[in-house]
């Protein structure tokens, strides 16, 4: 076991996969000589050379399309979005080509590629650097969308994403890179499509992902003291959603709270509620509660920013409220 920071866990995943399969390569802005803005590719340039750790010009749309072409012809690119928000400039390549080309080509090509990097609301980074693209991309067919949240799952999921033969949007969170955890010394892979039960419980199901998992964990401490026993599920896979795990939990608790960092309108939570409505309407004892970020561009001011995203206290209150209504 070795105590590992999340960014290093990601680095290990990339390093191991590049060692294992020489068609795997990384491209993006400052991934090479600079070692990546958050050091996820540190020193890999020296180890693997300038073609396998390719520093690109600032041309997101074209280097993303280039990765699609490389994937179609047998390589396995990993794109680092220096900040995932910058990939808005590559929306067309991600949606039409990474996402849809396999289908439109009638199966002629597969597109094994990973698009990864930091998303989410950081600390006063301003609106454009505080995006939660999962909401914008979730409707695109053909994409898998994954969000990691701990060093352990970050490493195992990234390895799985690199091995997957499909395009995977892989979200890291700008405020989680320095999380620490003991990681196994042996190799492991975490499946992309399985939600993680963070805490088993019976009173209410809390569905969350990425950084909000940690806000939930904080809230749970307070709730436990009050004798409340929530089940916490980290979705991991934002598309497709793991409704085996989610459904089992709902059948047990009959109450759901979603805690997400994306904006409310058209967010991941919206799709979850709609899917629960489709599948488990009769299991619900109460409306699902949706705790999302405010529907606004993230303000720079620290206090407004804090108000914009869901805080542990709000989660605690929402759970308490829901449980109280049960009685």
């Amino acid at each position: 076991m070795a105590e590992t920071l999340l960014f290093n866990a990601l680095r290990e995943a990339i390093d191991e996969e590049m060692g294992r399969d020489d068609t795997v390569f990384v491209l993006g802005e400052d991934v090479g000589v600079y070692g990546g803005s958050y050091k996820v590719t540190k020193d890999l340039y020296n180890k693997y050379g300038e073609l396998r750790v390719l520093d690109t010009p600032i041309a997101e749309n074209s280097f993303t399309g280039m990765a699609v072409g490389a994937a179609m012809t047998g390589l396995r690119p990993i794109i680092e979005g220096m900040n995932m928000g910058f990939l808005l400039l590559a929306f067309n390549q991600i949606a039409n080509n990474a996402g849809m080309l396999r289908y439109t080509s009638g199966g002629n090509y597969k597109i094994p590629m990973v698009i990864r990097g930091p998303g989410g609301v950081g600390r006063q980074l301003g609106a454009e650097h505080s995006q939660r693209l999962e909401a914008y991309f979730q409707a695109v067919p053909g994409l898998k969308i994954v969000a990691c949240s701990t060093p352990y799952n970050a490493k195992g999921l990234l390895k799985a994403a690199i091995r997957d033969d499909n395009p995977v949007l892989f979200f890291e969170h700008v405020l989680l890179y320095n999380l620490k955890e003991d990681l196994p010394n042996h190799e492991y892979v975490v499946p992309l499509d399985k939600a993680e039960i963070v805490r088993s419980g019976k009173d209410v199901t809390i569905l969350t992902y990425s950084r909000m998992r940690h806000h939930v964990t904080q809230a749970v401490k307070g709730l436990e003291k009050k004798g409340i026993d929530p089940e916490v599920i980290d979705l991991i896979s934002l598309k497709p959603l793991d409704f085996d795990t989610i459904g089992q939990s709902i059948k047990k608790t009959h109450r759901v709270i979603i805690v997400e960092e994306c904006m409310k309108t058209g967010g991941i939570g919206a799709e979850i509620i709609a899917s629960i409505n489709d599948r488990y309407f009769d299991e619900l004892d109460a409306p699902v509660v949706r705790l999302s970020s405010q529907d606004i561009p993230t303000p720079y001011n620290g206090k407004l920013e804090t108000l914009t995203i869901v805080q542990p206290k709000q989660i605690e209150a929402a759970v308490e409220n829901m449980v109280a209504l049960k009685v």
Binding site: A59, S62, G65, A70, M72, S105, G106, I111
Partner: protein, 342 residues
């Protein structure tokens, strides 16, 4: 109408080509022409749907470039892709079947006219959106270099030919990719088919500098202007660019001055192009011109050429029968091909 650009002169010495090679080119151009004529017929008879963009008039470009490639090289096209696919070796019947949306189509009937693909023939697409194929082609070219220089596979000397139009040369992806291709010396040909129009937009109204080949200069890349109605000229330029690319000397931008003999798509009323302009370009029909060249230089006799035309007519007729008789995709397969595992 603005002043027409003077087409660059090119005198092909007959020794440049063997009779066999001449017939390969001729057959390819005829195949392209007859195929498209059949599409028009089918569309107007209400048997083919969607947006259909024909290539008539531009055949010298597809044949001149693609027939100079090796079969393991890559071709990347646009929505005007039927003839590039044919030149790349995709059988006419599978292209026709695709246009009929059949399971036997090269994209299994899922893609249609603007989305032709064939991994078997290294045809990367069929891209319906302007410019989006350019980065994809760049990726294929990068892949060749990667295999050669990062993986040490000395046989990885494949070249990628990327086709697009004059209108597309105002799009950012064009410039971004010129830069990366030149920077990394990628084995790629950027082939601009300047047919003077982007739907209803005259090239001169869309660009501050109509000579597209010149744009290469500021990326440290050779840019060449060629008479796109002369297959021998296109071939000569393409061969040189391919040799450079294969030798690891990097990309070339080739601007082919050409013209489409039909409207932008079969839905386009084509009301804006002047009669005089159309006639001037029709007079340069690349097929007629190449026929004259072949005969004049004793590379082929008219009888042989007629045989080619007859054979290709049969190919097209067979392709049509094949397409019409082929099955539709099964409704059960609606979700097939979304993921690699499907």
């Amino acid at each position: 109408m603005v002043q027409e650009r003077t087409l660059p002169q090119f005198q092909a010495p007959p020794a440049q080509i063997s009779p066999e090679q001449g017939l390969v080119l001729y057959e390819d151009m005829i195949l392209g022409r007859f195929f498209e004529d059949k599409c028009a017929e089918m569309y107007y008879r209400g048997k083919m749907f969607g947006f259909v963009h024909l290539y008539n008039g531009q055949e010298a470009v597809s044949s001149g470039v693609i027939k100079s490639l090796r079969s393991d090289d890559y071709v990347c096209s646009t929505y005007r892709d039927h003839v590039h696919a044919l030149s790349a070796g995709v059988p006419a019947k599978n292209v026709m079947a695709e246009l009929f949306g059949k399971e036997t189509g090269c994209s299994k009937g899922r893609g249609g006219s603007m989305h032709l693909f064939s991994s078997e023939h290294n045809l990367l697409g069929g891209f319906a959106f302007i410019g989006e194929g350019i980065p994809v082609a760049l990726g294929a070219a990068f892949q060749s270099r990667y295999r050669r220089d990062a993986l040490g596979d000395t046989s990885a000397d494949q070249v990628t030919a990327c086709f697009f139009g004059d209108g597309t040369s105002n799009n950012g992806q064009f410039f971004e990719c010129l830069n990366m291709a030149a920077l990394w010396k990628l084995p790629i040909l950027f082939v601009v088919e300047n047919n003077k129009w982007a739907i209803g937009m005259a090239h001169e109204r869309a660009t501050s500098q109509p000579e597209i080949y010149k744009k290469a200069s500021v990326f440290g890349m050779p840019g060449i202007e060629v008479d796109g109605m002369d297959v021998m000229a296109v071939r000569a330029v393409a061969q040189e660019a391919i040799a450079r690319a294969r030798a690891g000397e990097g990309p070339t931008l080739i601007e082919c001055l050409t013209y489409r003999f039909r409207g932008h798509s079969l839905a386009d009323p084509d009301e804006l192009r002047s009669k005089a302009e159309k006639e001037a370009w029709l007079a340069r029909d690349p097929i007629k011109r190449f026929e004259a060249y072949l005969v004049e230089h004793n590379l082929a006799e008219e009888g042989t050429l007629k045989e080619v035309r007859d054979r290709i007519q049969t190919t097209i007729d067979d392709a049509l029968t094949f397409a019409e008789d082929s099955p539709e995709p099964s409704p059960d397969d609606l979700y097939k091909y979304i993921f690699a595992e499907d």
